[in-house]
Symmetry: C2
Subunit: 240 residues, 2 copies
DNA sequence: GAGCGTCTTTGATGGCGCGCAAACGGTTGT
DNA sequence: ACAACCGTTTGCGCGCCATCAAAGACGCTC
């Protein structure tokens, strides 16, 4: 089937169908039920993957049971690349949010691929560079922004990645609990719940059990950009 | 002489002296006074660099004058790699903390180098992977840790990177203001000042104007690891 | 040495958001 | 149907830390 899935992956952009087929032949397909763990942090990093179908998340667990959700993966995304670089252990755990299938390479195979296909290495560098920028963005948010603003930004990011437009609003097709949202934004499930309740009162969202519909995206954007800090009357640039 | 500086750079590891010389020949050396800006965020990303000598920092400025210090570079480190990936603009500004010299390539030159030397690309991937882990670590800190703990960890990181052991303690050879420290840890210069004062009272550090000497590294490590949260018994040594 | 700017300290105040507790409600299993 | 369970909501109190203001300390120039 002409390399199929891989043709849509950012890191294999620019390869010929023949090459894609050869790469695909080296993979092993694995199916995961929802909630199943593909690898755990601390495990020796032996494989790297492309998410073919479904949804997964990369989580880092803290000793106190605290968790940080680092990424929520969409189909086509590459992860576990650590394995190709001769590193020792996965720094995060990967678990399936929905039923998912992944394509896996051994670390050594991917290592050879990167050496043989500089184009793939360059694509991967680009992807990593983008992730670094996203992480810097997150550091910035955590360092300077209030909880409500951080949650708004996280929700908008998720909407961009996994939202479906309906006439009721943008529906987040993710089973996303308050606790997940809290772990994404560095707060507690209590505060996350309060924020969503507040938004629901204002008609901005409709929040259900692990479900979220954005009814007034514009209002969310306002919160995310913190437009309230710049009162419309005053003109910026008046500090002598 | 024989690739000189580049031989000590992580991203050129494994190259022959001849290749290093050829790469070095493509660079342009630039000297920066302390405080001088090499590039500003938003500038079109045309060059990437190795820090040859001195100390630089990568800062992201916020619209409100708030800043996030993203990295403090030591000699041998590569930065501005965005330019090689065909991206548009630098996401951060680079400024010299001390008088520094850098070696610069044009983005296109580095692009060609990466395609021609898969080994360099792989090294760079490794470096980026480490940076991603560091950033994840920082996200984790900002999401879950208290200010004092975050500052302790930042100080220890800086000590590892730019500390010199003396019999008085570990001297941080960086002109590091309270504000810098605050921007590294996502707090305000007021709080940073208070924390350092507190530490000084307890004899953990000796803090001067843009100077810091760690006298009891072990105590700092305890704070950084938050050993107080796991008290097997009550500690008599309490703060009055 | 006087003056000045920058960096730093310290007090006072207030608010955001954490953390516990408890109730609520939808879902699941038998 | 009932109970058990999990995710969610909400009240309440307090502690950490931001924020403002102002004074203090150090290094600089002239």
């Amino acid at each position: 089937m002409s390399g199929g899935v891989l043709a849509r992956c950012a890191i294999f952009e620019g390869l010929s169908p023949g090459e894609l087929d050869r790469l695909l032949a080296q993979t092993q397909r694995e199916t995961l039920e929802r909630g199943q763990v593909l690898f755990s942090q601390g495990d020796p990093a032996r494989h790297c993957y492309i998410l073919e179908r479904g949804r997964m998340r990369l989580v880092q667990l803290h000793s106190d049971g605290r968790a940080v959700v680092h990424r929520i993966l969409a189909p086509g995304e590459f992860f576990g690349g650590i394995a190709a670089l001769g590193e020792e252990a996965y720094p995060v755990s990967a678990e399936a949010v929905d039923e998912s299938t992944v394509l896996g390479w051994s670390g050594e195979a991917m290592h050879r691929i990167l050496l043989a296909h500089p184009l793939v290495a360059l694509n991967l560098l680009r992807v990593q560079a983008r992730r670094i920028r996203e992480l810097q963005e997150r550091v910035n948010e955590l360092a300077w922004m209030r909880v409500e603003q951080r949650i708004a930004r996280a929700v908008l990011r998720l909407a961009r990645q996994a939202g479906r437009r309906t006439e009721e609003g943008i529906v987040l097709e993710l089973s996303l609990s308050r606790e997940d949202l809290a772990n994404l934004t560095g707060t507690t499930l209590y505060t996350a719940s309060r924020v969503l309740s507040h938004w629901e009162q204002r008609g901005i969202v409709r929040a259900g059990r692990q479900r979220l519909v954005i009814r007034l995206p514009h209002a969310l954007v306002e919160i995310a950009e913190d437009l309230s800090l710049i009162p419309d009357k005053e003109q910026p640039g008046e500090v002598p």
